[in-house]
């Protein structure tokens, strides 16, 4: 610990910039964390976060960044063990802080939206009980019978082969455009699990289209 601090001060004198090695950071931040090192990391994170977040924060950027850094420092100190040295320590720490800040902003932005309300509002609006509906109910004269049948089939696949959870997620993400952090929160899962849920839905659709002999390129052409 003392050697690390001495090295640090020596270098600070020479370059004015604080340049700790990864090993020194880890040594200084290991519990009980060195106050000066924590202060130094705080400064670095604040400096980086401002240009990273300013376009997403409409007011009081400084305060928001300070709060984000405070929360991030707790997380960083808590999971020091998971840093395996593939980058500079400060790059890794900055990554944690950026995610912290953006997640908070997403939650704030969508705090008044409930995907349950969206889902039930959708059901009330609809006359029949089909969870999936094609907006243009009649296919139109420019669509051949064959094309209409293909569309019908695709809708059937989406309605029958995707789970309610998958449909709920796709609706919130792709129709409503809600942040996946927020959708995951509201569905009681992690963002990672939500991604997997949607991935499985994509795989299902891809496989089903193939097994039904539906050419996706033709389908896309028909839809445009």
């Amino acid at each position: 610990m003392i050697v690390a601090m001495l090295n640090w001060f020596k270098r600070r004198k020479q370059t004015k910039k604080s340049y700790l090695s990864n090993e020194e950071w880890l040594e200084l931040l290991a519990s009980p964390a060195d106050e000066k090192a924590v202060g130094e990391l705080r400064k670095i994170l604040v400096r980086g976060l401002k240009p990273a977040l300013y376009k997403y924060v409409d007011r009081e950027l400084d305060q928001f960044v300070e709060d984000t850094v405070q929360d991030s420092l707790v997380k960083i100190l808590d999971k020091l063990d998971s840093f395996r040295g593939e980058s500079r320590f400060t790059t890794w720490a900055m990554k944690v802080a950026v995610r912290e800040g953006l997640s908070e902003l997403r939650r704030k932005k969508w705090q008044d939206v409930s995907i349950d309300d969206l889902a039930s509002a959708g059901i009330e609006d609809d006359d029949d009980s089909h969870p999936v509906q094609f907006a243009a109910d009649n296919p139109g004269p420019d669509r051949t019978t064959h094309e209409s049948m293909v569309l019908e089939k695709v809708m059937e696949i989406i309605e029958n082969d995707l789970s309610d959870k998958q449909k709920m997620a796709l609706n919130a993400l792709m129709v409503e455009g809600i942040s996946s952090t927020v959708v995951a929160d509201q569905m009681g899962m992690k963002r990672n699990a939500l991604y997997k849920l949607v991935h499985d839905a994509r795989v299902k659709l891809k496989t089903k289209l193939a097994s039904e002999g539906i050419d996706p390129d033709k389908l896309l052409e028909q839809l445009s």
């Binding site: 593939e86 790059t91 900055m94 907006a135 991604y195 659709l205």
Partner: protein, 78 residues
């Protein structure tokens, strides 16, 4: 869920880009610091870590975090 032609297109396109092997947000996050440094040092992280690149292409939130991380790191390096 109302299927507009627009949404149907999105779904079909997304399904066609689907790979059987994709990483999730956690795996992407685990490698993002390394990916960012490769990019900032002028290397080609998309070649070294194609699954991370694929996830960034597909996941808007991870992509937003990555862009913000690059902005932050550029400031620190300046």
């Amino acid at each position: 869920m109302k299927l507009t032609p627009e949404l149907l297109k999105k779904l079909v396109r997304a399904s066609q880009k689907t790979l059987s092997e994709e990483i999730g947000c956690d795996d992407c996050f685990d490698q993002l610091h390394e990916f960012a440094e490769l990019e900032l040092s002028g290397k080609t992280p998309e070649k070294a870590m194609p699954l991370v690149q694929d996830h960034l292409n597909k996941c808007g939130e991870c992509r937003q975090e990555y862009q913000a991380l690059l902005d932050a790191l550029r400031e620190l390096n300046s």
